[in-house]
C-alpha cells in the first residue's frame, strides 16, 4: 500500500493500473448509460425525470468522497509529514469541484420539475453550494499563492477546517426537515429503493469513480513531474 | 560584535551568494560591494534575520544571533534601500512617530540641529510625498540620530544624495565610529569613506 503515500511507488503502480482503469471506466459508463436509459423503469411518481438520479446521486457521493480523501491526506501530510498528501490535494481538488458542480446542476434540473424551482435555500443545497465554494477556494489558493511550501500547508489546514462541512452535507437531511430527499439508498439498514433502480445507480457510481480515478492518476502524475522540474 | 560565518543564501532555490564571512567590531565600518543583483541587500536582510540563511551562522556578541534576536534589535538601526517614511504624513508627523515609537532619548534641540544640518528644517509641515528624492532619503537618515543605536545597517545610503550630503554622511559615519559604533553598508559609489573591511559579493 506504499504507493498511496510515495510518489515514486505511485508512479510505478499506476503505470500498471492506469490502462485497466481507463478501459473499465469506459465500459462501466457505457453500461451505466444503457441501464439508466433503457433498462430501468420510470418512477411511478416522477416519470422519467427519475433518470437524473443516475447522474445526480453518484456525482454527489463522489463529491463527498473526494473531499473526505482530501481531508485524510491533509492529516497525513500535516501530522505525519508526508508530502504526497500535498501533491494529492493539489491534483484532486478540481475533480471534486467538477463532481460537485455536476451534482448541483443535475439537482437543479431535477428540482425544477419536482419542486417547481431551480433552487431553494434548504440545508442540503446550501451546504453543497458551500462545499463547491470551498473546492474553488482551494483551487484558487493553489493557483495564486507564490510560495509553494507555505501554500501547501495553508491549503491543508484550510481543507481540514472545511471538512466540518462534510457531516453537514451528509446529515442535513436528517437533522433538519427539508425539501430534499432524505437518505433512501445510503441508509445503513435496508435501502428503500427498488433493485431495478439500484443496479444502474451502482454501475453509474462505479463508472464515475473510475473516471475520477483515471483523471486523478493523470493529474497526480503531472503534479509530481512539475514539482520535480519547477521547484518553486 | 557581529560575526558572519560561511553564510549562503538561496532564494527560490537559486543561490544568491555563498560562503560569505565578515566580522564587525565596535568602531569599524564594513562596506559591501558587488554588482547589481549580487546579493548585497539580501545579505543585509539576512544579518537582520529577516531572511533565513540556507547555510552558515551569524553571531551577535558571541551568542547565536537567532537566540539573542531582540537584544540585537535593541542595538541596531536598519535603513533599507527604499524609503520607508509615510508619504501621506508630514515630515513632522513622521519624526514624531519615530521618536516616540523608538522611545528616543534625544532632545528637541539636538533634533533641530540635525534637521538643520540635513537642511530639512523648512519642510517640517510638508507631506513627505512631495519632497524631492534626496530630501526623502535624508529624512530617512534622521532615524539614525533618533534611534541612537550602536550598529547601523544601511542599504545604499549614498545614492541620490548631493555632494554636500555625502560629505555629511561621511562625517556622521566617522563620528559614530569614534564613539564606538559600527556600520555596515552597501554602496556602488566610492566617496572616500574610510572603511575597515570591504566585502566583495
Amino acid at each position: 500500500m506504499k504507493f498511496l503515500v510515495n510518489p515514486a511507488k505511485f508512479n510505478e503502480v499506476t503505470d500498471y493500473i492506469f490502462k485497466p482503469v481507463l478501459i473499465l471506466s469506459v465500459l462501466l459508463f457505457a453500461l451505466g448509460l444503457l441501464f439508466s436509459f433503457y433498462l430501468s423503469p420510470d418512477d411511478y411518481q416522477q416519470g422519467s425525470t427519475v433518470r437524473i438520479m443516475y447522474v445526480h446521486v453518484p456525482s454527489a457521493w463522489l463529491a463527498l468522497l473526494t473531499y473526505a480523501t482530501m481531508t485524510l491526506y491533509s492529516i497525513l501530510a500535516l501530522a505525519f509529514r508526508i508530502p504526497f498528501g500535498f501533491i494529492f490535494n493539489t491534483a484532486v481538488a478540481p475533480i471534486g469541484a467538477v463532481f460537485t458542480l455536476i451534482c448541483i446542476i443535475s439537482g437543479s434540473l431535477w428540482g425544477k420539475p419536482m419542486w417547481g424551482t431551480w433552487w431553494v435555500w434548504d440545508a442540503r443545497l446550501t451546504s453543497v453550494a458551500i462545499l463547491f465554494i470551498i473546492y474553488l477556494i482551494i483551487m484558487f489558493m493553489n493557483l495564486s499563492f507564490e510560495n509553494r511550501i507555505v501554500r501547501e500547508k495553508v491549503v491543508a489546514v484550510f481543507i481540514l477546517v472545511g471538512s466540518v462541512n462534510l457531516p453537514i452535507v451528509k446529515f442535513s437531511v436528517d437533522w433538519w426537515n427539508t425539501l430534499h430527499q432524505p437518505a433512501t439508498i445510503s441508509k445503513l439498514s435496508k435501502p428503500s429503493i427498488d433493485p431495478s433502480m439500484m443496479i444502474p445507480l451502482i454501475i453509474m457510481t462505479f463508472a464515475f469513480m473510475m473516471i475520477g480515478l483515471a483523471i486523478a492518476i493523470l493529474r497526480i502524475k503531472t503534479e509530481i513531474i512539475s514539482r520535480k522540474t519547477n521547484l518553486s | 560584535m557581529i560575526i558572519v560565518k560561511d553564510l549562503s543564501v538561496e532564494r527560490l532555490d537559486k543561490k544568491i551568494f555563498e560562503n560569505i564571512n565578515l566580522s564587525l567590531t565596535s568602531g569599524n565600518i564594513t562596506i559591501l560591494r558587488g554588482k547589481n543583483g549580487s546579493g548585497k541587500s539580501t545579505l543585509l536582510k539576512t544579518i537582520l534575520h529577516i531572511i533565513e540563511p540556507s547555510f552558515g551562522t551569524i553571531y551577535w556578541k558571541g551568542k547565536l544571533l537567532k537566540k539573542n534576536l531582540y537584544d540585537f534589535y535593541d542595538n541596531v538601526t536598519y535603513i533599507a534601500d527604499k524609503t520607508s517614511s509615510l508619504t501621506k504624513l508630514t515630515v513632522k508627523d513622521n519624526i514624531n512617530i519615530w521618536s516616540r515609537i523608538f522611545f528616543s532619548n534625544i532632545n528637541n534641540s539636538q533634533l533641530e540641529t540635525a534637521l538643520k544640518t540635513l537642511k530639512l528644517e523648512n519642510y517640517l509641515n510638508k507631506k513627505v510625498g512631495t519632497l524631492s528624492l534626496g530630501e526623502t532619503k535624508k529624512l530617512e537618515f534622521l532615524r539614525l540620530i533618533i534611534e541612537n543605536k550602536k550598529v547601523w545597517i544601511l542599504d545604499e545610503p549614498l545614492s541620490n544624495l548631493d555632494e554636500d550630503s555625502v560629505q555629511l554622511i561621511k562625517q556622521t559615519f566617522e563620528d559614530h565610529c569614534s564613539q564606538g559604533g559600527s556600520i555596515i553598508f552597501s554602496s556602488h559609489q566610492n566617496p572616500g569613506i574610510y572603511v575597515t573591511e570591504e566585502v566583495q559579493l
Binding site: I130, I133, I134, I137, F140, M141, L143, S144, F145, E146, N147, V150, R151, V154, F158, V161, G162 | R11, L48, I50, I51, E52, Y70, Y73, D74, V76, T77, Y78, A80, K82, T83, S84, L86, T87, K88, L89, D93, N96, I97, R100, I101, F102, F103
Partner: protein, 224 residues
C-alpha cells in the same frame, strides 16, 4: 516594561495618524453603510414589518462586507513601504504586531460602525430593547472578524495577485458565526449562554491569530 507600554501607545498614535489621514475612507465606509440601508428600505418598500424582520440580517451583512472592504489596508501598506520590518526591528515580534494590528483594525474600522448601529436601528425599525443585544453580539463578532481578517490578509501578502481571495476566505469562515449571531438576537431567553459561546469562538480565534498571522508575516517578508 513601561517603555514597552509607551511603545504600544505610540503604535496606536501612528495608526491613528495613518487611519485618520484616511478619514475619508472611514467616511466612505459609513456612507456606504447608510446608502445600503436606504437601498434596502427602498427596494423593500415602506412595509414596516418586513423591514424589521430583515433588519438585523441586513446590518450583519453590511458589517461583514465593510470589514472585507478594509482588509486590503490591514497589512498591505506597511508591508510594501517596509514599516513592518521597522516595527519588527523595534522589538515587536511578528505575532505581537499581529495582535496590535488586529486591535487597531477593530478600533479604527469596526468601532465607527458599531457607533452607527443605533441610528441604523432606528432606520430599520428594530425594537429599542434589541439594540443592546445587537451591539453586544456585534461587538464580539466584529472582533472575531478582525482576527479572521488579520489572518487572511497576512496570508494574502504572499499572494499578490488575487486580492479577493482573502476576503472570500474570511467570508466563508464567517458563515457559521453569522448564523449563530443572527440566531442569538432572536432568542432573548438564552442570550447570555449563547453570547458565551460566541465569546469562546472569539477566544479561540484570538489565540490562533498572533501565531498564524505572525508566521505569515514572517514568511512574506522573507520572500518580499
Amino acid at each position: 516594561m513601561i517603555k514597552f507600554l509607551i511603545k504600544i501607545i505610540f503604535f496606536y498614535y501612528r495608526e491613528y495618524k495613518l487611519n485618520l489621514s484616511g478619514f475619508q475612507d472611514i467616511l466612505t465606509n459609513i456612507i456606504f453603510f447608510f446608502v445600503s440601508i436606504f437601498i434596502f428600505i427602498f427596494s423593500i418598500g415602506p412595509d414596516k414589518d418586513t423591514i424589521s424582520v430583515v433588519g438585523v440580517g441586513i446590518l450583519w451583512t453590511l458589517l461583514l462586507l465593510s470589514s472585507t472592504l478594509s482588509l486590503r489596508k490591514f497589512y498591505q501598506d506597511d508591508f510594501e513601504n517596509g514599516n513592518l520590518v521597522i516595527m519588527h526591528l523595534n522589538g515587536f515580534s511578528f505575532g505581537f504586531i499581529a495582535i496590535l494590528k488586529t486591535l487597531s483594525n477593530f478600533l479604527f474600522v469596526q468601532i465607527p460602525f458599531l457607533l452607527s448601529i443605533p441610528i441604523a436601528c432606528i432606520l430599520l425599525n428594530i425594537a429599542n430593547d434589541k439594540i443592546i443585544y445587537l451591539i453586544t453580539s456585534f461587538g464580539i463578532s466584529s472582533f472575531i472578524l478582525s482576527c479572521l481578517g488579520s489572518i487572511s490578509s497576512s496570508m494574502n501578502l504572499m499572494n499578490q495577485r488575487n486580492f479577493l481571495l482573502g476576503s472570500l476566505i474570511v467570508m466563508v469562515f464567517s458563515i457559521p458565526i453569522i448564523i449563530f449571531s443572527v440566531g442569538i438576537i432572536n432568542m432573548e431567553e438564552s442570550f447570555n449562554s449563547l453570547i458565551n459561546i460566541l465569546f469562546g469562538i472569539l477566544l479561540i480565534v484570538f489565540a490562533i491569530n498572533p501565531w498564524a498571522s505572525g508566521l505569515c508575516l514572517k514568511l512574506s517578508l522573507e520572500n518580499k
